[in-house]
């Protein structure tokens, strides 16, 4: 049984949650951005999480063969698949239309005098940030628990 695989699982979640927090920070930083590389106002971005379905890479296959596949954790239905961790499948743009504000003096104002601002609600972003922080903390404490399991396993050898 590979105890270090546990840490990889929790580590992948911490990585994904930090990425989520970064995207939230980008959204908040660009709440007033009217001009991006594409020429449009900034659009709110969101992350999409997807569960890892155990890769079939060489290293996994080799270790499977070496361990006679006893250490792998199968997902329901398909045996031998690792249900380990999470990854960010995509970062998608919000399709909500931009907010129009009347400001004819603005350099990005349209011919009608309206400026398109990104539709970013600080409240939504803060809630998302809080969720990311909590999930990060949860997986952080899981890593602590895993570390203590590994170090207690080392105690067996001490007499």
């Amino acid at each position: 049984m590979n105890l270090f695989g546990l840490m990889e699982t929790s580590g992948s979640a911490m990585q994904a949650e930090r990425m989520r927090a970064e995207v939230v920070a980008t959204n908040m930083a660009n709440a007033e951005t009217t001009r991006t590389a594409s020429g449009r106002p900034y659009r709110r971005q969101m992350v999409v999480f997807a569960a890892n379905q155990g890769d079939s890479g060489f290293a996994t296959s080799l270790s499977d063969a070496a361990n006679q596949n006893i250490a792998r954790l199968p997902t329901p239905g398909s045996q031998g698949d690792a249900a380990a961790g999470v990854h960010i499948a995509a970062v998608v743009e919000d399709s909500a239309p931009p907010l129009k504000r009347y400001d004819p003096g603005h350099p990005d104002a349209g011919p009608d005098g309206f400026v398109s601002y990104p539709d970013i609600n600080p409240l939504t972003e803060m809630v998302d940030l809080m969720g990311a922080t909590r999930a990060y903390g949860l997986n952080g404490s899981a890593v602590q628990a895993e570390k203590s399991m590994i170090s207690s396993a080392l105690e067996i050898a001490k007499t």
Binding site: L6, I70, P74
Partner: protein
């Protein structure tokens, strides 16, 4: 007389620790996917697996992969995810305690062996 370092008890405790680690692994996977839409919490029947493992020790069979199944009866959030932070935290604490119990038992078993080796001292 045939002297074995690996006793039946130490083998049983090893299987117990394997299962505790499997449980921790499942819990960690659930925790990692706490925000994944549509993810369903995975779990295992520890008692049933332990019974199977104990009969495996008696019949000299190697460890088998555990039967993982989705946990029934959890309340799913609107995005279809039914992982509960509290449930998983408790499960992880439980798995950790089980593992540490296994460590303590195994240490005691090896200590017994060491005592037998050093019996003339």
């Amino acid at each position: 007389m045939n002297m074995e370092v690996e006793t039946r008890l130490s083998e049983q405790v090893a299987r117990y620790m394997d299962l505790a680690a499997s449980e921790a692994k499942l819990t960690a996977a659930n925790m990692a996917n706490i925000d994944t839409p549509g993810y369903q919490a995975l779990g295992m029947d520890f008692e049933a697996e332990m019974r199977e493992a104990l009969s495996g020790v008696d019949d000299d069979r190697g460890p088998r992969p555990v039967h993982v199944k989705t946990v029934e009866g959890l309340i799913a959030r609107p995005d279809g995810n039914d992982v509960s932070m509290d449930r998983e935290s408790l499960n992880l604490a439980e798995a950790q305690l089980k593992f540490k119990t296994g460590v303590a038992l195994l240490r005691q078993e090896y200590q017994r062996l060491m005592d037998a080796i050093h019996v003339d001292k």
